[in-house]
Symmetry: C2
DNA sequence: CAGGTGGGTTCCCAATGGGAACTTACGCTG
DNA sequence: CAGCGTAAGTTCCCATTGGGAACCCACCTG
């Protein structure tokens, strides 16, 4: 029986049903960067083979990865990100940004990004899709959306009302 | 003994050491939205009291949350996000965005955001901090940074080289 | 034909998580 | 002033998960 987040009516909880463990985000990062085979991932991550098998299967079940044979006889596979899986790289990017800022030593971040659009080394920042301005935590307030349910998140509902009372 | 990601030299892995489980991101979301007390979180999330205690302590140990007494005799506490913890809301936001796009039914997302800067209901998007353009997965290529170590991520190193060979 | 590689599966053991009950300390209410 | 409610945990038992190492099978290469 699930008392876990999976049946909650909440986007964050539902996403965590897919990437809410220690390994799935790292698997997605590896696949995104081109480490796409079972043994390569296992060596690269130091994950146990059993758990890697389970995680890959779960990610495939969630249609985040797909398994593409690059040889039959013997059967050999590449794991690829689906379109849905590609969108999960934004979560990985957020994790990386946080780690770069708070968790690396003086040697600096292990990985940087070059934006192909402008050619510069860049950091990803979060912006408002309406005005294009950069958004920091606190620059936006939550609003109950069409799918909001009072029943799952009773305390949450009250907390949001309280926030609005402050802002208004 | 840890064979887990925590001692790897990788920003994503290190971040996962803090939020790499089913509950921590939800706890951070709740605190960010104003659900800041033990019982309120426990009811709101449906998490077991034991695990909630463990997670809160871990988040405090990582300096993501702080415990502020709002009453002594009897001792009662609010949990607050530190500055570091505030930055983790970007990870939660990424999870929410993904869930909103791929995992909610036709009833629509449960939570929206109003950007205080422009007043509009907005979605967070990822932009390049150099040119300000929106960045989609694939619009940026990874580059080895100052802290890159060949030894942890041997396959990764080769994969990045392979990517560069493609782009150049 | 021995050894290596890719992609797993199996087994055992230790750690983790859920659930429910128990605790402590106070404040309120009849 | 007895009893109930609330906040914040703690404790116990049991089921599930994860790590590690070994095993397996099909093929390729020297």
């Amino acid at each position: 029986m699930h008392t876990s987040p999976e049946d909650r009516h909440c986007s964050v909880a539902r996403s965590l049903d897919i990437v809410g463990d220690r390994w799935s985000p790292l698997i997605i990062r590896d696949v995104a960067l081109g480490v796409s085979r079972f043994d390569a991932m296992q060596r690269d991550l130091g994950i146990s083979r059993k758990v890697l098998t389970q995680r890959l299967q779960a990610l495939i079940d969630h249609e985040v990865l797909e398994k593409v044979a690059y040889s039959e006889h013997p059967p050999r596979f590449d794991y690829r990100l689906t379109e849905k899986g590609n969108d999960l790289t934004m979560v990985v990017l957020a994790l990386q940004q946080f780690g770069d800022k708070w968790l690396v030593g003086e040697e600096g971040p292990p990985l940087l990004w070059r934006h192909l659009g402008c050619g510069e080394l860049s950091s990803p920042v979060v912006c408002c899709d309406r005005c294009g301005e950069q958004v920091a935590p606190g620059d936006a307030v939550p609003v109950k959306g069409p799918g909001f349910r009072e029943e799952d998140g009773p305390g949450l509902s009250a907390a949001i009302d309280a926030l609005h009372a402050l802002v208004e």
